[in-house]
């Protein structure tokens, strides 16, 4: 069952931006454990620290203080390059704005993480096509992002996130730019990867409908967790 084995553990995490009068306490003593295979939704009003938490969880940033353990490693103490290696091998990202490379065919976008993993060209193409097939877009492999709808672009982004078989997908408002029907499609895709592949999913959203796809809901207010429990 989800939560059995801790994948991510935050203890007393504080993140402070700026200094002096301009100091902003984005996170203020956050404790959190996320187990392997969980599907966690993070909600909260804007400025509540949920995006900051997401960046820390995704090893894009380091906390000002507190302890962050990712798969047992002290991620808060890692160098830039070491964090890059963690992202490369264990984390897939899905963003609100898709963040695909422009003028680059879908399949090459999906291949991108594999390039840095050092996967050979033919194998890369095969894995990328497989990932695209899993999001139902193998027919669109040669299309540039500008030729794809928002939902299709987001599915390409999900294919890119899962192609390297990560332990966790960090999804930051994945449906923020999509209409409700398309949003549901995207959520179903994410749910499938969580259920079938056991990939842990951490999703920031401000839509209650979307949070309902998760198994666990964490609410942030003013940099603190105010509630944490099953949906």
């Amino acid at each position: 069952m989800p939560g059995a084995q801790p994948l991510i553990e935050l203890a007393g995490i504080t993140k402070i931006y700026g200094s002096g009068a301009a100091e902003v306490r984005a996170l203020d003593g956050v404790d959190m454990k996320i187990g392997e295979g969980e599907f966690v939704a993070i909600m909260g009003p804007s400025g509540s620290g949920k995006s900051t938490a997401m960046n820390l969880l995704g090893c894009l940033d380091v906390p000002t203080s507190g302890h962050y353990s990712f798969m047992g490693a002290d991620a808060g103490a890692l160098s830039r390059d070491q964090r890059a290696l963690i992202r490369r091998n264990f984390i897939g990202f899905v963003f609100q704005g898709y963040n695909l490379l422009a003028r680059t065919p879908a399949v090459e976008n999906v291949e991108l993480p594999l390039i840095y993993k050092g996967v050979g060209r033919a194998e890369r193409r095969r894995l990328a096509m497989e990932a695209l097939a899993r999001v139902g877009l193998e027919a669109r492999a040669r299309h540039d992002p500008s030729e794809l709808s928002g939902g299709q672009q987001q599915r390409v982004a999900i294919a890119r996130a899962i192609v390297g078989r990560p332990a966790v997908i960090m999804a930051d408002e994945p449906t923020g730019n999509l209409d409700s029907t398309t949003s549901q499609e995207i959520m179903e895709v994410l749910t499938r990867f969580n259920a079938e592949d056991g990939i842990t999913i951490v999703m920031v959203t401000h839509e209650t409908d979307m949070a309902e796809y998760a198994h666990r809901l964490i609410r942030f207010v003013d940099g603190r967790i105010v509630s944490d429990g099953p949906v």
């Binding site: 894009l60 830039r80 390059d81 890059a84 003028r103 991108l112 390039i115 993993k117």
Partner: protein, 402 residues
Amino acid sequence: MIWETVRLAVQAIFRNALRSFLTILGVVIGVAAVIAMVTVGQGSTEQVTSDVARLGRNLLVVSPGRAQQGPGAAGGAAPFDVRDVDAIQDQIGSVRVAAPAVTRMMTAILGNENLTTTVIGTDSRYLEARDMPVALGRPFYESELRSGSAVCVLGQTVRRELFGSGDPLGQSLRLKTISCRVIGVMEEQGVSSFGQDQDDFVLVPLKAFQRRIAGNSDVALIFVAVRDGVSTDAAMAEIERLMRERRRIGPGEEDDFNVFDMKQIASVLTGITNVLTGLLSAVAAVSLLVGGIGIMNIMLVSVTERTREIGIRLAVGAREGQVMTQFLVEAIVLSLFGGGIGIVLGLTLGAVGSNLLRVPFSPDPAIVAIAFGFSALIGIVFGYFPARRAARMNPIDALRHE
């Protein structure tokens, strides 16, 4: 991995083909200019060297005038006469042959045709000193030289211009007021350095020139051929001593004549060529530098434009060094493209220039290699700063960049 990076760089470059081309234009022009300059310069040097070889390495020219004026610049000093020539020939053992020469630009007329050419008054020793064989007819007879007969031997250019394919032998050519009979035609000498036609002359007996054209008995130049195996420097010293004596120049006084060695003339010409090549190459090198700055400028723009792309790459796990490498390789590939196009363009211009200046086309593989290496260096130097800026980006800010 590096091939992957190069392939990506080429892709990125062609994605923005026009801008990439404009970016590398500076490097293209710089490299092309350097290569064209050096190629033509080397062709000229080769030409000078081969001219000197043809003139004879053992040939000296003695001319009246102070030093630093070059052969033919009399500068008010007393001219020589034929006794000076004989003295050099007879009194200096290392001299094989000494020949007098007087020259003047004149119009040669044949019927309706006329041609401005150099008339040289000399004797058969001139042909001997310069190793010039007669192609058609015969050289001067001793009797013609002694009496100063109105006969002449033509260079190939004069023959071609005035007679075309007709037989010039026995025909009469008018030079100013005198009419002289053509007795021979010299073999083709070709074109010298800096495009001087060496077949554009008419030879007449020295006495004929002195009496009928110049109206005096001066000798303007003395050509001296040194014996094989004798040092030209030693011969030059001996000639200098003899001439000082004959011209009564006291100790401590400056020479009022010059003895030039062909090697010296060649080195002066080569020196001029080298200075010109150097100067022009320096200008070209500045344009290379400007080209490099152009590449840096565009790479910085490109890094800013592609901030989001950099963010994405960092997010999916690119290390700092990999992003750095990507942009550095892009800059290098870009400037190598510039270098490659520049080399092709430079060699083409060099070939055209060599052809126009009538010097041999002698591309130097070393300079091509240096130009190529230099363009890579430009890519590294001017690509480093933008690449570092890309690599140091914060992924979160980069991803948010609009």
